[in-house]
Amino acid sequence: MTLEKFLVELSEIFEIKKINKNQKITNLKNWDSLTSLSVLSLIDSKFKNIKINVSKIEKFKSITELYNYVSKK
């Protein structure tokens, strides 16, 4: 999955038209237990062999960094 596609998926989860890839995911308006689970589920189903949980997702400084980690770039 490309970064662009990842951002589209996130915009659907968070119901935000355009996601700024340089911001921290936890700063998105709708970040809560439900959206975080949806992000987790997205990563779990689209990226192979990634060990990650919500507290780890919360630590990435930007969405690009998160993407690079899960896509092993």
Binding site: D32, S33, L34, L37, L40, S41, N53, V54
Partner: protein, 354 residues
Amino acid sequence: MFITFKNKSISAILSVIPNNKVTYEEGLKNYNFSRSKSMKLKKIMGFNTRYIANKTTTVSDLSVYGIEYLLKNKILNKKDISGIILVTQTPDYIIPPTSNIIQSRLNLPDDTLCLDINQGCAGYLIGLMICFNILDTKKFKKILLINGDVLSKKVSKFDRNTHPLIGDGAAISVIENKKNSNFFFSVNMDGKNADFLKIQAGGIKTPSSKLTAKLKKDLHGNTRSLENLSMKGDEVYLFIMSIVPSMISKLLKKNRVDIKRIKYFFFHQPNQFILKKLSEKMNISEKIMPNNIVGLFGNSSGATIPINICNNFVKKKNFNDNTVCLAGFGVGLTWASAIINLSSLKYKKIIKYS
């Protein structure tokens, strides 16, 4: 671990549901989230209605009510009951076992084997394995496997993480020796991650006190005390998604069973979201992997698989068309699965406790 049992049968399942029906919306005012956010959660998780026990209703009440119903309707003969295996995490007392209380309330003879097992989401499979083992001694006629919990009493109404999904209930399965096909089981445990689902206080290690009863808000805005059930939702999700598909494929492979022979996948019902994701990942149609129990009755821990069977199983005439796969996963952590044949299931029903 893989185990095979021969010539065992589940001949009847009766599910007893408490009569207080509550809706998801009734709980909204207590959650620290906007209505629109909580309604979104409802849609995704498949929450709707669930049934909750009265303040004074216990697991032994639900169980005795159900067993008396089976006796009255001649599904079961009192003299055939040689054991009561109760799987619960909400016993009436710490001491004595609740199964002994059930024995006494039913005036069963003193050669009735009574045993309580502390197990949760995988409790139907663990219970079946114990019953089958006991039946192998051939000393026992019929064993009542009871999966009962009133976990609603242990969740905080301010905790949107647990409160909207937990329901109460008890399911009584009549287990006996009978010529049948082989029953294949797999079971695994991981105590290292036992903290994922836990009630911290109220046992011997951390006795109940004013301090443990105090409500505290967590990072996500959910409020609960140390005496309430706490669940690490994301960790539980990852655990289930990572172990269940491989557990089922290993069980099928080990026993050389073609997945096409499985007519139903009756899984534990944590919530609809996880079950939909599992059916996607395993490429199994939702039609044969039901996910409707949480929305109808709530998640009643070990009782969800028998309730699932009572609500969704349609028996076929042809023996081989009744091969089903069961799976339970959660508290412990424990994960277990089985391939069993339900042809000998002569009776199944869901009744309301009153």
